[in-house]
Symmetry: C2
Subunit: 353 residues, 2 copies
Amino acid sequence: MLPNDFYTPEVQGAYDLHSLGRFELEEGGVIEDLQLAVATYGELSPAKDNAILVPTWFSGTHQTWEQVYIGPGRALDPDRYFIVVVNQIGNGLSTSPHTAPDEIAMSRFPKVRISDDVIAQERLLREVFGIETLQLVVGGSMGAQQTWEWAVRFPDKVLRAAPIAGTAQNTPHDFLFTQALMDAITSDPGWAGGEYSSHTEVAAGLRRHAGIWAVLGLSTEFWKTEFWRGITMGEYRFTSMADFQTNFMEAVFTAMDPDALLTMGWKWQRGDVARNTDGDLAAALGRVTARTFVLPIDEDMFFPPRDCAAEAALTPGAELRVLPSIAGHFGLFGFEQTYLDALDGHLKELLAG
Amino acid sequence: MLPNDFYTPEVQGAYDLHSLGRFELEEGGVIEDLQLAVATYGELSPAKDNAILVPTWFSGTHQTWEQVYIGPGRALDPDRYFIVVVNQIGNGLSTSPHTAPDEIAMSRFPKVRISDDVIAQERLLREVFGIETLQLVVGGSMGAQQTWEWAVRFPDKVLRAAPIAGTAQNTPHDFLFTQALMDAITSDPGWAGGEYSSHTEVAAGLRRHAGIWAVLGLSTEFWKTEFWRGITMGEYRFTSMADFQTNFMEAVFTAMDPDALLTMGWKWQRGDVARNTDGDLAAALGRVTARTFVLPIDEDMFFPPRDCAAEAALTPGAELRVLPSIAGHFGLFGFEQTYLDALDGHLKELLAG
């Protein structure tokens, strides 16, 4: 186990570890004792019928959801719903390369797919909480991939689905983008084939990784209008593009574990609900019975609205609702009240129907 | 001088080297004998009033213009015009790090700006060809940067300007994109601070460089529709995305000289006509007297039409004409007849007025 302060309750906020025991993965690997890091908000009703599931995105944890999306009066209202945020496998909090037992640690960590997360989450909800039906599954980016997988794999359990800024079937462009992100890490000699002895040895690769995120994760207009001037980090205000790049983008990514990012990257590249239907995407999406709002972000450079619209068109009854954010994909961080208000409006409407 | 077959007439087609003698650069460096690699098409009229200048783009040479854009009956018609394509300084054919005399070779190569290219081209046209007026300056990408610099710096010499898929003032997003491209090269231990003994020692970095181009240089729709299936290389047809990435994108960039790409990248990052007017972009573009068509490509991910539209709005009499290409920025390579027809139509209209 490699020490890394980033993956502690002090930094990420409280969560519980739930053991699912032996877990066999779709690609053939086994995690002998899969631990899922879970944060819950609100109370489960006696009938266990008020649950909302939130799976996490690439490099993310439950924390952003807690700080940005969940609260009284919001769509994700803990006074009304029991909201379960499950950290994805390999994200640094749930079982991950740098915390796993020696036989599957670091470069020996097995390949994990989106379907593995969804199967594990279904078991967690049933075995730990006794939840059989979800009022809503909502997630952004890789969380949207998991949301789609839930709606296709367990249609009887998902009443509503809200995939934000993500696709049911990963696109070729996203595959290449993710590859460039991963190559930035694995090309660092400090990565050492995944066997570094501290994530700080891979700092140069993680900085380049952050540099590529800066180009695709935000938007041309975000940078042109210097939107970062309105983003604060505690009391700190950024004074230049380079300052934002160094003290926000690079600071965030250099704190993370390289093998965790690579585990998630490999998984992201292969997200595809059509694996449930012999490669037939229309057949897979045709299985969805959830009331579904498909929620791309207008300025997203790698999950552009048209890719999401094409999937919405294949999903019975799904509606396309495009969210506004000059921050592009990173609009997910909720920098703008206009974005949050738009999303809350859509989710409230979805939950009311 | 490092041998590199890519930068030979056998690969690039015929060109002439013109010596401009001692050349002082804006950043303070000096090239004692600046050589510009120049290809011309057509005949200069006795009055020397039928010249068109074409500056080249990042990593490009005169060859694409010769093969794709110039021909009888085309807008760039050598039966009518004397077309001068000047390879930009540092592109591998004009004076460049890997061919320069020892005192400025490789890591000692001085910083070159867009303005240096334009000043050198003006001298070349005047001293070598006796050309004082240009019917048209047209270029794509970094060629558009040079086109804008020409129109602002030498308004009396430029009757018409056609910047394609490029901006007068480089955007912050483009700065970050170019930085990611450059970091992919300089992070390769084989680069050795610019002192490699063969470009093949930097193959891994050049492949990552190609990998980032794949994400931004084309478009999400190019990859989704597998547009590469329609692109041929001689008799060869690509059979998969990975095949195209390896045998087209990586094959092209790994043939190039790393320090040449870095020289051009540094120059691209700092292209800015407002350097002529103390940082005032509106004042700079207000100087333009050329009849100007601003020609962004609809699917361009890093020179999006709105950035070009903003500059067109500041340029007296300029018209915005958006070109269609599913190949995004790489639409410049002319994969699509529809794109070429649209561009030719605009250029013919511009030249007729």
